[in-house]
């Protein structure tokens, strides 16, 4: 049986090394299968998060050969035979053990977002064409790969000033809901720090749900923020033509 060579980061709280493992390859195997193989046959204490094994829960985020990816979606046959496959934890969040990081910051950020606020007398009639965009955003599986790759968080560690692309998507899903009445623009500008995003689109590239984070969520919100705070006349004109 052909074998793959995996180099997996092992250790606690950043201090660790890459350990090498040989794993027999099965047809259609993904990297998470290989990690499970190691867990079952070499070392049951190997730490990894996973739930669904079908790219639906967003638990198994890691960096495979340096690229942020879901382990359960990373096919082994995408690599050259004999090529070493390195697997390491996502970099942007504090390391706990092996492939597991502390992503609790994201849950704290989520709490700060003004929740869905429908009008008390809403009649709950709205149409498919009104929600295509919102449904795109709601596909998010909270894998935090976009958070991992965004340079504002990854390289500059500005978690104090920037919510990150995942939560831009979340705020956009609320802002664009046809029955939402809250105004989050001030918070999008000041708390979420949308101005720190310089539209590199790295987040969009890694999103396993193919959400157009930058084009569909961030840029329209940037425009709304500009209208609201820097261009009151434009905002007035737009409101006449657009309705919201």
């Amino acid at each position: 049986m052909p074998e793959a060579i995996l180099k997996v980061f092992r250790g606690e709280k950043d201090s660790g090394t890459f350990e090498t493992y040989k794993v027999p390859i099965e047809e259609g195997m993904v990297v998470l299968d290989a990690i499970h193989y190691i867990q079952q046959n070499n070392d049951p204490s190997l730490a990894v998060r996973w739930n669904c094994k079908a790219a639906k829960c967003g638990s198994c985020s890691a960096e495979v050969n340096g690229r942020p990816a879901l382990l359960c979606k990373s096919r082994m046959d995408k690599f050259e035979p004999g090529q070493e496959i390195t697997v390491q934890p996502i970099k942007t969040f504090p390391h706990l053990k092996d492939l597991v990081t502390d992503v609790s910051w994201n849950y704290e950020v989520n709490k700060k977002i003004t929740p869905f606020t429908p009008a008390p007398d809403a009649n709950w009639t709205f149409y498919q064409e009104d929600i295509e965009r919102v449904q795109e955003f709601r596909k998010c599986i909270e894998c935090f790969l976009c958070q991992d790759v965004c340079h504002v968080l990854r390289d500059h560690n500005r978690k104090d000033a920037f919510y990150g692309p995942r939560f831009m998507v979340r705020m956009a899903s609320l802002e664009m809901h046809p029955l939402d009445t809250a105004n989050r623009l001030k918070s999008i500008k000041e708390d979420a720090g949308i101005g720190m995003c310089n539209i590199t689109k790295c987040c969009t590239e890694v999103c396993p749900e193919d959400i157009h984070i930058t084009d569909n969520a961030i840029i329209p919100m940037k425009e709304r923020v500009v209208d609201e705070f820097y261009d009151p006349i434009g905002k007035f004109l737009k409101s006449i033509f657009a309705g919201k």
């Binding site: 606690e12 099965e26 047809e27 259609g28 195997m29 993904v30 998470l32 299968d33 867990q39 079952q40 070392d43 049951p44 204490s45 190997l46 730490a47 990894v48 998060r49 996973w50 739930n51 669904c52 094994k53 079908a54 790219a55 639906k56 829960c57 967003g58 638990s59 979606k73 096919r75 706990l96 053990k97 092996d98 597991v100 502390d102 992503v103 609790s104 849950y107 989520n110 709490k111 929740p115 869905f116 429908p118 709950w124 009639t125 709205f126 149409y127 498919q128 929600i131 919102v134 449904q135 709601r138 596909k139 998010c140 599986i141 909270e142 609320l174 809901h177």
Partner: protein, 608 residues
């Protein structure tokens, strides 16, 4: 004495899928102090995997629908084994619970009139499943999660409970550990709601995630509650069969709901041959009528055509596929073919986006261009912790249960779509029941027995001690063996000989479990967690095997090759499993009798 963290809540909810989140939201709304414990990160529970939809008689698409039809469908699907009161509450309250989700921000697919769209599903007479493409579970859990985080209850993520604590016969708390670093934690709580899901990890081929290790069932059993009807294990007819790494992963019934066709290697559409006589009249008579039904469904038009035979109940379809494969008419990888590729590709991608990606990314199959290969996968357990229908309280005062870990609602076979609705209907009732119970206790102080804590700590420390010994067993090897036993001897078709063999093998395996050991530290150590999970899975597996042996008939998901007929007498009793000292006790207890006014709903149907 070892160190542990202490927290205090009125109500502690264990499990944060749909049922647990809904319970926590409700209990909080009732003004009591709530804690929510989950084994994974918030929002990752198995609810996320539910695809096809949530069943509720909103009558947005088929206006003839109402709760009574839903109730009758549910009882028929469950072959009369359902707790009638739960089935009634479920059918009556599901529409309001779904509307509530919408008010909390869920964005369901719409009808042309701008209402929540509903699709057809197996066993449902009318189009009843509210859905968001094929990711309805994700929509539900995210909605509840985003609602929950603003309700002021505490969430303990990646935390597992290993022991329920009692003061006399009342619940007084729970003991557990954090997965992250292995530190121990004591929760003082006046009431506990179990919402831990199912038992899938006891089987080889399953749609369930690692979390499904029968925790709630085992904790309740240990605390003195009883488990009913554990023999009823649902094998979902359509799981992926290839590649090996994804074997068992769910292929939504929505594919068939949208018109997917099942064929064997001889290109024969076989489902019509497997329809039970009693339900034949509900299905189309030929492929032409099926085609008219599908076309009308796609166009959103009414039709007098009846639904295709692929939409029979899950137990039937699973047995049909199993039989086709066994008799040599299977697909190359040991399944059958499920085909939706005859429909417009863009529509398939829109209605079944995650199926499209799942097959494309994981199996290199384009479902808009050709058929999928599918086969049965262990999916759900209908049996579970016995609860009172209206409050979800078990027979242990202060202990409640909701969702898959509880039993009764689905009888001998669950209809697709009735699980998500179950979660929100009974999650809410459990939260309400627990809050009421706590208020009724008043200032009654509850004690925690220190010896119980010491014992719980010792149990958790042990695998490291064992791990130092030469004959220590790898917990994953034991799990593999358990899977083998359950899938071979307690699987989709059963007989006395197999079940007896299975029970004997489980008994031997129990000795192995005692030798499960690990090395390394307590910091995020999955092997260590598995040692504890094995104990839970063993309890549930034995309960399933003994219950299956005791039911000498075939009913719903329980198929006995040595008793192929249904025995009407046996619908009058639940199989009850409880702990009797160190032994497992099995009893047949009288099932609650349905009142006359509900019985009439069935009488009417038969004269039709």
């Amino acid at each position: 004495m070892a160190n542990y963290e202490v927290h205090e809540h009125d109500v502690l909810v264990i499990g944060a899928g749909g049922a647990g989140l809904r319970a926590a939201i409700e209990a909080s709304a009732q003004g009591v102090n709530v804690g929510l414990v989950c084994k994974s990160l918030l929002g990752k529970a198995h609810t996320v995997m539910a695809e096809g939809g949530v069943a509720a008689a909103l009558a947005n698409v088929d206006e003839q629908d109402d709760w009574k039809v839903h109730f009758v469908d549910t009882m028929n699907g469950g072959k009369g084994m359902n707790n009638w009161r739960m089935a009634q509450l479920h059918a009556q309250e599901a529409p309001e619970r779904v509307r509530e989700l919408e008010r909390w921000g869920a964005v369901f697919d719409r009808t042309k009139e701008g209402k929540i769209l509903q699709r057809a599903f197996g066993g449902h007479k009318y189009k009843r499943l509210c859905h968001v493409g094929d990711r309805t579970g994700l929509e539900m859990i995210r909605t509840l999660q985003d609602q929950g985080i603003h309700r002021g209850f505490n969430v303990y993520m990646e935390c597992a409970v290993t022991k329920l604590l009692k003061d006399g016969d009342r619940i007084s708390g729970a003991f557990g550990y954090y997965r992250e670093d292995g530190r121990y934690v004591l929760f003082k709580a006046k009431a506990i709601v179990l919402a831990t899901g199912g038992v899938g990890k006891a089987f080889t081929v399953t749609s369930n995630s690692w979390e499904y290790t029968a925790d709630g069932q085992a904790l309740a059993y240990d605390a003195g509650a009883d488990l009913i009807d554990m023999e009823f294990v649902q094998f979902h007819p359509t799981g992926m069969v290839w590649p090996p790494g994804v074997r068992g992963i769910l292929v939504t019934e929505g594919v068939r709901g949208e018109g997917g066709i099942l064929t064997n290697s001889e290109k024969k559409r076989f489902m019509r041959d497997y329809l039970p006589e009693s339900t034949k009249s509900e299905f189309s008579v030929d492929d032409e009528e099926s085609k008219r039904w599908v076309e009308a469904a796609i166009a959103g038009q009414k039709t007098d055509a009846k639904r295709p035979p692929e939409l029979s109940t899950r137990d039937n379809v699973a047995r049909a596929i199993y039989t086709e494969v066994k008799e040599g008419r299977g697909s190359p990888h040991g399944g059958v073919f499920l085909d939706i590729s005859y429909q417009d590709a863009a529509r398939v991608r829109k209605k079944l986006p995650s199926m499209y990606h799942q097959f494309k990314d994981l199996a290199d199959v384009d479902i808009t261009a050709g058929p999928m290969e599918v086969g049965p996968t262990m999916h759900y357990i209908m049996g579970g912790i016995r609860v009172e229908a209206d409050t979800q309280q078990t027979r242990v005062p202060g202990l409640f249960a909701a969702g898959e870990c509880s039993g009764g609602m689905h009888g001998a076979n669950r209809l697709g779509g009735n699980s998500l609705s179950d979660l929100i209907v009974f999650g809410r009732l459990a939260g309400l029941g627990a809050a009421e119970y706590v208020k009724g206790l008043g200032n009654n102080a509850l004690a925690i027995n220190n010896d119980h804590i010491e014992a719980a700590i010792k149990e958790m420390d042990e695998p490291f001690e064992i791990g130092k010994q030469a004959d220590a067993k790898n917990p994953y090897d034991i799990q593999k063996e358990l899977n083998q036993i359950m899938s071979t001897y307690v699987g989709i078709f059963r007989n006395e000989e197999d079940l007896t063999t299975g029970i004997a093998k489980l008994k031997n395996l129990k000795e192995q479990v005692k030798k499960a050991g690990v090395k390394g530290s307590k910091v995020f150590n999955p092997g260590w967690h598995m040692c504890r999970d094995l104990t839970n899975m063993m309890i549930a597996s034995e309960a399933i095997a003994h219950s299956a042996l005791s039911r000498k008939e075939s009913r719903g998901a329980h198929s006995r090759l040595d008793f192929t007929e249904l025995d009407p007498e046996l619908a009058k009793f639940n199989t009850s499993i409880s702990k009797d000292g160190d032994a497992m006790k099995l009893e047949k207890t009288a099932k609650p009798v349905m009142p006359e006014e509900l019985k009439e709903l069935f009488a009417k149907k038969e004269t039709k």
